[in-house]
């Protein structure tokens, strides 16, 4: 391939070269945008769990307590036994585990949603340490409470107040804005896990519905190998039974309801259609351009260019054209992706994952995690798209070149 000839051909025939490149660039841009959207939805679906430091949450549905008094388990989160969790923890792919105990506490004066948390564990609700709006986080070996900011405001609870929960006193040491942290396992009051366990052990009502012993919990947060998340879900269900509810990023992806979120196949099919249409446009335009150059090809062959020389020259031109198309398409996709990144998505959080009694204010409301769709063009996608463009150029140039190189110079040069 002669680079000078290629550059000159593209420069002086820039209008027709740009027409071919433009068609392909639209296809490349569509391919990038569709895949960037798909990736963005996947990333968005990970956020509710990531915000609580986990990749998977596990709980188990149970019976509704007959009487709502004292501490009870929500029906969506009953006992997960200590020995069951040890088995879960030993599954391959599990990197860490956080535990929590969610209770509905019905005291004569007030109903609370109480969450017992592992203070030191970075996996699970202890991430709230970064969302303390006033006061401080829980300290070791102390029976104290954090109160959710909105709940504190509603009931006039202040730092230093003492909360009486099922007859036990907890000083309020901090106000946390859980809405900044997570929408999963949101409670009104956060206690050290051992204090929540004590409330559960002491509750006859709770024990009658779901036998409970210290060390058991009803919410588990798991950090896992990304590649093994899909296979861990059935393995956990095998250990915990069919009533176990295992939430993964895929669960949220399905809740998003977007075509991109619902199906990889949709993205793949749409990308393929976009690229096939673009290839056809590019092929047709290039075929027209090359056919117009039959006489020129005849001259090249007459002056001693072999078929191989001609084919390589045409491949070089097509590759250069398609490289330009790929870069144009990438630039277009980056601009569009930037625009799309201002789009908000609302991920519905199932009631079961953050259960609040329906009869409490806001208890029946659907909770959403609203966030900006994180649309970006990853380097790998950008490089793939540009390389794909170059490959399309190579193949198109090769096919057309092989065809046109067969012409006989005497046929095209005969009629001067």
């Amino acid at each position: 391939m002669n680079l000078r000839y290629t550059v000159k051909e593209l420069y002086y025939q820039r209008r027709r070269a740009m027409v071919a490149a433009f068609g392909l660039s639209i296809g490349i841009a569509l391919l990038i945008i569709l895949n960037a959207l798909s990736i963005a939805y996947r990333q968005a679906a990970q956020i509710p769990l990531k915000e609580i430091g986990a990749d998977i949450t596990v709980q188990r549905a149970g019976d509704v307590p007959q009487e709502l008094s004292g501490a009870v388990f929500p029906c969506s989160a009953v006992t997960l036994k200590k020995d069951e969790l040890e088995k879960v923890g030993s599954l391959p792919g599990i990197k860490g585990m956080g535990r929590a105990l969610l209770l509905w506490v019905f005291d004569p004066e007030r109903a609370w949603v109480v969450l017992g948390i592992e203070r030191e564990n970075s996996i699970g609700p202890a991430v709230l340490r970064y969302s303390v709006a006033d006061g401080r986080f829980l300290e070791a070996e102390k029976s104290e409470a954090l109160v959710e900011v909105a709940y504190a405001r509603q009931f006039g609870i202040k730092l230093g107040d003492s909360l009486s929960i099922s007859g036990r006193e907890f000083p309020v040491v901090g106000l946390v804005d859980a809405s900044r942290a997570t929408k999963i396992a949101v409670a009104n009051v956060y206690l050290p896990l051992k204090d929540a366990e004590a409330l559960a052990v002491a509750s006859k009502q709770l024990q009658s519905v779901s036998p409970y012993a210290a060390g058991d919990v009803n919410l588990v947060f798991i950090k896992a190998d990304q590649d093994q998340i899909a296979s861990l879900s059935p393995a956990m269900k095998k250990i915990l039974g069919e009533k176990a509810a295992v939430a993964t990023p895929d669960s949220f992806l399905k809740l998003l309801g977007s075509l991109f979120a619902l199906s990889d196949k949709f993205t793949l099919a749409a990308s393929l259609i976009a690229i096939v249409v673009a290839i056809l446009i590019a092929f047709k335009t290039m075929a027209g351009n090359i056919a117009e150059r039959a006489r020129e090809i005849g001259v090249l062959k007459a002056v001693g260019w072999t078929n191989r020389n001609v084919v390589f020259q045409l491949i070089g031109e097509a590759v250069a054209q398609c490289l330009i198309a790929g870069i144009l398409g990438l630039c277009l996709a980056i601009v569009v992706s930037f625009g799309l990144s201002f789009m908000n998505v609302s991920i519905p959080i199932p009631w079961e994952m953050s259960p609040t009694p329906h009869f409490l204010p806001g208890g029946g409301d659907q909770i959403f995690k609203t966030l900006r769709l994180p649309v970006t063009v990853p380097w790998s996608l950008a490089v793939f798209a540009v390389l794909l463009s170059v490959v399309i150029g190579g193949m198109t140039g090769g096919l057309l070149g092989r065809h046109i190189a067969k012409i006989k110079p005497s046929e095209v040069l005969r009629h001067d």
Partner: protein
């Protein structure tokens, strides 16, 4: 006699379907000889030129160029052979419109493993020789008909061929320019000793050749 020389075609026949264009033509060109093929339109001059230069294969007969039998060579072998031994001049110049004058001249050298600067140098020398040193960077669209044909001649010479095939090289030029082009060909033939086989139907120009070959109805008549 027919088999000697830089170029020889023996008993060449060419048919397109039932139409027989050449009917057993034999022709030889000696090294450094300037031969003109003359005859009316459609008599088979261009076809004979195509067969002798290896652009086309005969239906029957043999062609030898510089002692090499080319009739049975593959298309690529013929292309390589033309690249090293043959130059072409066409009636309508056939310059590449996107390449400058010197690049058009260097076109046969592009696929060769010759450094680009050397290719440029050789093309420039040819253009200087044809008094086009001041037009080397111009596109064909900026050149006159005579200049275009001189660029085409430079292109035909750049690979230092043993023979040049010229098909109506003055056909698209006015008579004065045609005369000038003919003078250049004559000079190249005299000074460089390159053999020329030229097709023309202009009798006055043909007279300047060393030998005149007349064709009629697919046969050589004189």
């Amino acid at each position: 006699m027919i088999n000697s020389g830089i170029l020889s075609g023996v008993d060449l026949r060419k048919s397109y379907g039932s139409l027989e264009v050449l009917k057993g033509v034999s022709l030889a060109v000696d090294p450094g000889e300037f031969v003109c093929l003359v005859g009316k339109s459609g008599c088979g001059k261009t076809t004979l030129l195509s067969l002798l230069s290896g652009l086309e294969k005969p239906t029957q007969g043999r062609v030898s160029l510089d002692g090499k039998e080319i009739t049975s060579s593959s298309e690529d072998e013929l292309a390589l052979f033309r690249r090293e031994n043959v130059g072409f001049i066409f009636q309508s110049f056939n310059l590449i419109p996107t390449l400058s004058a010197w690049e058009n001249v260097a076109l046969p050298l592009f696929p060769m493993k010759i450094p680009q600067e050397q290719q440029r140098q050789r093309a420039m020398e040819m253009l200087e020789k044809l008094e086009l040193g001041h037009r080397t960077g111009h596109l064909p669209s900026a050149l006159s008909g005579g200049e275009k044909q001189r660029v085409a001649i430079a292109r035909a010479l750049v690979n230092r061929p043993k023979i040049i095939f010229a098909d109506e090289p003055t056909g698209n030029l006015d008579s004065a320019t045609g005369e000038a082009i003919m003078s250049i060909l004559r000079r190249l033939n005299d000074e460089d000793g390159v053999a020329i086989l030229m097709v023309t139907h202009e009798a006055d120009l043909a007279k300047q050749a060393d030998r005149l070959v007349r064709m009629k109805d697919g046969e050589i008549v004189a």
